[in-house]
Symmetry: C2
Amino acid sequence: MIKLSDYDTRPPKDIDKGEIKDQTEAFAERLGDLHQLLLAEQKHAILVIFQGMDASGKDGAVKKVFRKCTHNNINVYSFKKPTEEEFAHDFLWRVHQRVPAKGNIQVFNRSHYEDVLIQRVHGWIDEERYKKRMNAINAFEDLLQFDNNTLIFKFYLHLSYEQQEKELQERIDEHDKNWKHNPNDWKEREHWSEYMRCYEDVLNQSVLPWTIVPVDERWYRDYIVAKTIVEGMEKLNMQYPRISE
Amino acid sequence: MIKLSDYDTRPPKDIDKGEIKDQTEAFAERLGDLHQLLLAEQKHAILVIFQGMDASGKDGAVKKVFRKCTHNNINVYSFKKPTEEEFAHDFLWRVHQRVPAKGNIQVFNRSHYEDVLIQRVHGWIDEERYKKRMNAINAFEDLLQFDNNTLIFKFYLHLSYEQQEKELQERIDEHDKNWKHNPNDWKEREHWSEYMRCYEDVLNQSVLPWTIVPVDERWYRDYIVAKTIVEGMEKLNMQYPRISE
């Protein structure tokens, strides 16, 4: 039973920042190679899901972790408020269209989990629909795994309430961050404890487990995410295919 | 009147490779910044088209030139043989769906130009349809410019017949390039002079001009492409938006 208050939002105290950064660099390099191998082999698909509160560093994680991957055969999709057409379908309709083909990495910046988080926090769905949606998500993620060899990574970017305030304030104070400022983020912040409760339910009710990433220090976020993806992909034992004679 | 035989496929002789590589690095760094600015400002879209013979280094150009751009708000699409559904539409139908929104860079690895190149070389379209398609392409590119502030870069990767043979042979000889080997590339190579003639017509009949990039040396290719995109984007005079008070 996961309780988020048991999880630190900061790195372990005895850790060497310089050493961690070197390791992150090495993981990023290796991820570049693994991405190439994934494309060459065409046997597996990779789906990477980032969820977290506003200013938890989803964009930054994308930027840092995949920085040695070429732009071929990798795509990042940021889920926003559904369009009218999307709302006129089930909640997985727009998501299904974006899942990766074999040979590709697909990154979701937010995801189908918004439909059991923001929608539940604001009471736009009732508890019965919430439960049905969680079951549907578990079945959907299973489908991607068994029917298209999709390796799925799910990262919950675990940010403290205090750090969020600092990050949001920076968007006001720093000129080149102004474009990220959104007054609505401050309103959503008022629902913090309700969000935490709903995240905990998601973390506990997901069949496919999450990685809970301490993100108050961004360099540690990058390390955990890069390490998790690389170690997961290494297990696929991918090989460059040879020409058949 | 462009004649491809007037254009070198190799770098100028008096050029300093080390210095060029340093400049390419600086252009790539700057492109990373300009990409961020593009996203922040949300006023312009960028479309980058790569065309060239097999093994002319389209994938490599994508990898090197955009290596400092984050994976958010940039997408690379590789056009392949049209699907049955795509064939059942006009040739621009599938292309139109992939053009960039404001704030985004879209890279086309091959493009709508295949429909006036491979299709013409093999006689799958007649000359009348070829001319109509060129007119349609010119109108289409104009539309993207005037109606969505799209800055379009078109690169013809200019490879020599001799260098192509070396590159294709490497795909057979080098184990980690085997996956790129395609016997069909050797067959297409037999139509080399016809391809050159058709490329020349495209270069001469495009309203929006092309950059002809010498690609026999890959480091020079990267330099020309990066420099062209950066200098073009600098002219947009993009600014980080400030918060309205």
